[in-house]
């Protein structure tokens, strides 16, 4: 009876959302655009981690490492050789693609371990990646610039350079943030659709089977080790792309950023949003990455939070309290994350019942 309306509601919502997102750069100021760009880059990384941790049940603490591979890979491939820094000076779009591939190769090199270890074991093993990554970032001076990091060459695509040179679109000056917004949006949409395709198809079923019962999955003919290694590589490539985008937004990469805390943030994102779903990863990423920025912006107006260095709870710390507590609360009281209640209402026959 109300079927046509129901059928039309979802496409209509999606269209409205898309138009809104496309129109935002014309209205928002730089702060919000930057925050949005961070959130989108984080969402891409979180989707990748959710494929691995949420859908396949393989914990990874090494996500920050692959973000770093993407970010620094792009810098090295696209950068100039200046002074002590090495750079290959490739066209920047090619560098971005190769950086993602490089993150995939790094994930592949770890696959003898990623394929054989299960769940939380892999979580501890991937701790090694963080420390190895930090070590290399601080020591390989000619590639990474050491402690001070290195500048990120701007992306140029189809004759448009995504730097500060202003481009006037409909009487709105477009700087780097405005232009990058569309690149990030496109990348996020592509990544989300691809992950959805993976999850809904045969590989997704196999991944869930591995998570829910590894031996049964093996008996059914799922090559468990190969799947685990494959998903690990895929998730590292997602992280690589997120790293490239973050580098482009930051315009400078510093090794400190790619530490343990970043990995924990990504885990918090997928848990808060909802393990195993693409929408969950996006929601969680927006929550975790916007939280510190909002708290910083409105620290004057908030009780208990004060500007960094004044002795009180700094915005970064306050946000860490909040998402740490959110992780615990979500797992205990809302298994399935923020998006899952909505899911349950819409689809009565979900294949993934929370165990």
């Amino acid at each position: 009876m109300s079927d046509p309306i129901k059928r039309l509601r979802r496409p209509a919502l999606w269209t409205a959302g898309a138009v809104l997102l496309l129109a935002l750069p014309f209205y928002l100021d730089r702060f919000w655009l930057q925050a949005g760009l961070f959130a989108m880059a984080a969402a891409i990384g979180a989707i990748g981690l959710n494929l691995l941790t949420g859908s396949t049940g393989q914990l990874s603490m090494g996500h920050a490492f692959f973000l770093a591979v993407g970010a620094y890979g792009y810098c090295v491939l696209a950068g100039d050789s200046t002074g002590t820094l090495t750079g290959l000076n490739l066209p920047s779009w090619l560098a971005a693609v190769l950086a993602v591939a490089l993150a995939g190769v790094a994930g592949g090199l770890f696959s003898p371990i990623a394929g054989r270890l299960q769940g939380a074991y892999l979580g501890i093993a991937t701790l090694a990646l963080i420390f190895i990554g930090q070590h290399v970032l601080f020591n390989a001076h000619d590639l990474t610039g050491g402690f001070n990091g290195r500048d990120v060459p701007p992306l140029s695509l189809f004759g448009v350079t995504f730097d500060e040179s202003e481009l006037l679109v409909a009487a709105v000056p477009f700087g780097s943030a405005e232009k990058l917004w569309y690149v990030a949006l496109l990348a996020l949409a592509g990544c989300a659709l691809f992950a959805r395709g993976v999850l809904r198809g045969r590989p997704g079923r196999a991944m869930n089977a591995i998570r829910d019962h590894r031996i049964a999955a093996g008996v059914l003919g799922v090559p468990v080790a190969r799947y685990r290694a494959g998903v690990f590589v895929l998730s590292s490539m997602y992280a690589g792309l997120a790293g490239v985008l973050l580098a482009l937004v930051f315009q400078r990469t510093v090794p400190e950023y790619f530490g343990m805390i970043l990995s924990l943030e990504y885990l918090a994102m997928i848990v808060i949003g909802g393990l195993g779903s693409v929408a969950g990863a996006v929601v969680g990423a927006v929550f975790v990455s916007l939280l510190p920025q909002l708290l910083t912006r409105y620290s004057d107006a908030l009780p208990l939070v004060s500007a960094p260095g004044t002795g009180g709870v700094a915005p970064g710390e306050a946000s860490r309290y909040l998402y740490g507590a959110a992780v615990v609360a979500v797992v205990l009281f809302l298994p399935g994350g923020l998006v899952r209640p909505a899911f349950r209402r819409r689809k009565t026959t979900t294949s993934e019942e929370s165990p």
Binding site: A128, F138, V271, A314, Y321, A325
Partner: protein, 296 residues
């Protein structure tokens, strides 16, 4: 040769401290099948309590308070968080401990700030020299204390009814529950013991030659993770061997880093993880871990 001997002795000593941390980690894993990523923050909590109290009530009482404090924090985490989880997926519980770790570490590092806190230990920086080989008193104390605690713990694990309950729960928790083992108590006890062991380890991670308790102490504590996993997560022997392996590797790599400059500075901090990766490549279940067998 003397350098080698000194490095080896230091490595064994620091290794015994790692073994202490890894042991607590393994105890929690055996009792509850949860990989506890909040372990480093338990350690930091114990160290912090000791550091704050030692001026007022003296070192030994403060150390006891630290042990008690960390045990209470561990038990509190178990009682308030772990026990509330109704599902059965242990991977998800591991993620909960990550959430707990974020909370505890943020709170403790905020309190510690940029300070370096002394723990007021009685050994100071005195050094014992025998036949040209000098070892700091703190290192000897660490080895002796860790050795005593580990022995006491292993004996309790074998002989007391608490240890039997713990092993029964590890073997098969359902059967153990049917036989009258109170799983709640077993897991509460495991968390408390792990916290106490971590607090002792916190003392020996922060005494001479380390400057004191600071926010990066939890990074040092994290080296117990590779120790636990390269020995095999479910094996107490593995935790000991892993701890020594990690300690000795770290000590040697740090001592000879002058000869290893091509690997970059600070290779000593990285060495434990490299050893772990190397071991896992050959034996994915760790050196002493039981290979998983399952009946379908």
């Amino acid at each position: 040769m003397t350098t080698f001997a000194e490095l080896l002795l230091n490595g064994i000593s620091i290794g015994s401290v790692y073994a202490l941390i890894a042991l607590g980690f393994v105890v929690i894993f055996r009792a509850t099948e949860v990989v506890n990523f909040a372990h480093a923050s338990l350690l930091l909590a114990g160290g912090y309590v000791t550091a704050v109290l030692h001026d007022d009530i003296g070192f030994w009482l403060a150390l006891l308070a630290g042990i008690g404090g960390a045990a209470a924090v561990g038990a509190g985490v178990e009682f308030l968080v772990m026990r509330r989880y109704r599902g059965s997926n242990h991977s998800v519980l591991a993620i909960v401990t990550i959430g707990v770790d974020i909370l505890l570490t943020t709170e403790l590092t905020r309190r510690i700030g940029t300070d370096v806190l002394a723990l007021g230990d009685p050994w100071g920086d005195s050094v014992l020299t025998v036949a040209g080989v000098s070892v700091a008193h703190t290192r000897i104390a660490a080895f002796v204390a860790a050795g005593l605690l580990i022995t006491a713990f292993l004996l309790a694990f074998r002989l007391t009814s608490w240890g039997v309950a713990m092993r029964a729960a590890a073997e098969n928790s359902e059967t153990a529950a049917l036989m009258g083992v109170r799983l709640g108590r077993v897991s509460l006890g495991a968390w408390a013991v792990a916290g106490g062991l971590a607090a002792v380890a916190a003392l020996f991670l922060t005494v001479f030659p380390t400057p004191g308790l600071e926010r990066s102490t939890s990074l040092a504590a994290m080296k117990a993770f590779p120790a636990a996993i390269l020995g095999g997560l479910d094996s107490t022997t593995g935790a000991l061997v892993g701890g020594f392996l990690v300690g000795i590797t770290e000590s040697l790599a740090t001592g000879y880093q002058g000869d290893l400059t091509f690997l970059g500075r600070g290779i000593g901090d990285l060495a434990p993880y490299l050893v772990m990766v190397a071991v896992l490549l050959v034996r994915p279940a760790g050196l002493f871990g039981t290979k998983e067998l399952a009946r379908v």
